[in-house]
Assembly symmetry: C2
Homo-oligomer: 333 residues x 2
DNA sequence: TTGAAAGCGCTAACAC
DNA sequence: GTGTTAGCGCTTTCAA
């Protein structure tokens, strides 16, 4: 309960009549030290609630005990919960390692903030929360030789990637829909500058080809950015006689649902609908929406554990794919 | 373009044939130094893209050049955009001050992470993103004598608070509704353990009293946590003949809207609706929703500027109230 | 097993 | 106006 002003390793040494070196050894566990001395020191440290100064430690061993968490600043609201949960997964790991998380927001292509924390040596490693097709942040970090991992996938070489297996996942859910006898599947997707959307499209197409069917390009509506885009795509899909709308993410699905509802188009009677992602946005929909379920927190947790391995100089595999679940619900019945 | 390994102030001194002190002075601007020498040093620094090591600087002047950003971990998705924008406001200021943001997530009442960054001296100050009625984080920081500010309001003494003027805002919007001749206003609110909700309720009641009317407790539905709670409240309000649903926040309003829609209750013909907050959640509703508009980014920006003043030992006023806008839309026509 | 001393990169009294 | 020196709190050789 000692609330003295900043106890240092030197104060402890004085109080116990040992040297600073000995105290340091007791704390770090490195080097030889007598059982008895160590216990004495550790007990005392506990007692006065001593906390080492991370600045000094950092200066001495050239570490910051921070990891950078990089997220886009232009995120639409629907994607925020994903990043938030990822971050919680990251946070679990950093806590355990006695690290902290430093935030870096990327606005559009502007990676100034990221450069800042890298050049200023404020972090020992970086986790990028999402990947773009032509990702400046990845390119920059690749040249910086600071340890980093990305959540998502990238064609860039030599980048540690942690992702859900979007291709397989989307292929699987599409296959299931086909197996149910649904044929005219319309894909409604977001920006193809996001790697994840490209993967989803790929899985979708693969399932169709594997079934021996032909991919109908007219039923694929990509790069829908605004609500209007999405609504137009829904209209077009229905006009072409789509039996099921396959939405690339929840925001798209959500907007589509609103429109269908407004137009009094009943699900799943008149049209079916499925989403390649499952978030709170769709949580309370009636009927429940068939979708893929991922675990963002696990993604963050895994990514951060990998990052620490890279920081420690361990070898890690370049790409890790985490699992997913297909959740069949009423919307495709 | 020099990409040497970690240039230090000493390397610069050697290269230029001056002392480390002189280099330090050129950089900091403190102390006397010749115009010519300074320019020479500054030019060279620019040239080799030298960045001071914040660890060393921090150790020397006992600063971390980090601020802590404290947010709740149990945030519902609808509130995330608020925190995100606040953080962007904070980020603008930290960038300008050459500071970075360290994240601290509070789970329920568990302020372990906050304690960590404080005890480990990883931050020079803290910004708390929201306030609870009996706020452990605030209590803890108040005893820690680390500079901090809160976004939101608190009864706790001697705490620098930055908030929107929720009482006045809610009072104003309520007054306007009353002025339109609407009399039976039902208030549907969230947890009264959040200070903001108490303020909103207060503004609501004040407007009614000021109009010389009596507050009808039966029409006040508070502490609605789940969607079910909200839907029950909506049912009850309608059962009691409410003319207008006044929702304390967008999540509540959103859930209420879904229910009204499901029950085929037309807005504003059959019932009117207004919200005490305005976010993306409601952005695309038809009809548009009458609501209060705040600027979360400005809140974060302002809070962070204040924090730096506190860190610099300046006197700041304890409470700052930022403005708001009333947006009258179709939902109360 | 322990301690003295140098050093991590920077700042700031105090000389000159 | 500029340099010398002694720290900031911790780690780590190298001796003892």
């Amino acid at each position: 309960m000692n609330t003295q002003k900043n106890q240092t390793i030197g104060d402890i040494a004085d109080a116990l009549g040992v040297s600073k070196t000995t105290v340091s050894r007791a704390i770090s566990g490195k080097g030889r030290i007598g059982e008895e001395t160590r216990n004495k020191i550790l007990t005392y440290i506990e007692e006065i609630n001593y906390k080492p100064n991370p600045m000094a430690k950092g200066l001495a061993d050239q570490k910051t005990y921070n990891v950078g968490w990089v997220i886009p600043g232009d995120t639409i609201a629907a994607d925020l919960p994903f990043f938030q949960r990822c971050m919680m997964g990251v946070s679990e790991v950093t806590m355990a390692e006695n690290y902290d998380i430093l935030i870096s927001i990327i606005y559009d292509d502007n990676i100034a903030q990221l450069k800042r924390i890298v050049e200023n040596k404020k972090v020992d490693g970086v986790i990028i929360g999402r990947t773009l097709v032509d990702d400046k942040a990845i390119k920059y970090l690749n040249e910086s030789n600071l340890p980093f991992v990305v959540i998502g996938s990238t064609p860039e070489k030599k980048v540690i990637q942690i992702d859900n297996d979007h291709i397989s996942a989307c292929k699987e859910i599409t296959s299931i829909l086909l197996m149910k006898g649904i044929r005219k599947l319309a894909l409604i997707g977001g920006s193809t500058s996001h790697v994840v959307n490209i993967s989803r499209q790929k899985g979708f197409e693969e399932a169709i080809k594997e079934k021996g069917l032909k991919v109908d390009k007219d039923l694929m509506f990509l790069n829908n950015e605004t609500d209007d885009d999405i609504e137009r795509a829904v209209d077009a899909a229905i006009g072409l006689g789509a039996e099921c709308l396959v939405c690339m993410d929840d925001r798209i699905c959500y907007t589509a649902l609103l429109k269908l509802h407004r137009d009094n188009i009943i699900i799943p009677d008149r049209i079916k609908i499925a989403s390649f992602y499952n978030s709170d946005l769709l949580a309370n929909n009636q009927p429940a929406i068939t979708a893929l379920k991922y675990d963002p927190k696990e993604l963050g947790n895994f990514a951060c554990r990998k990052l620490f391995k890279v920081i420690d100089g361990e070898d890690v595999e370049e790409r890790s794919l985490l699992s997913y679940e297909v959740m069949l619900k009423g919307s495709t019945q």
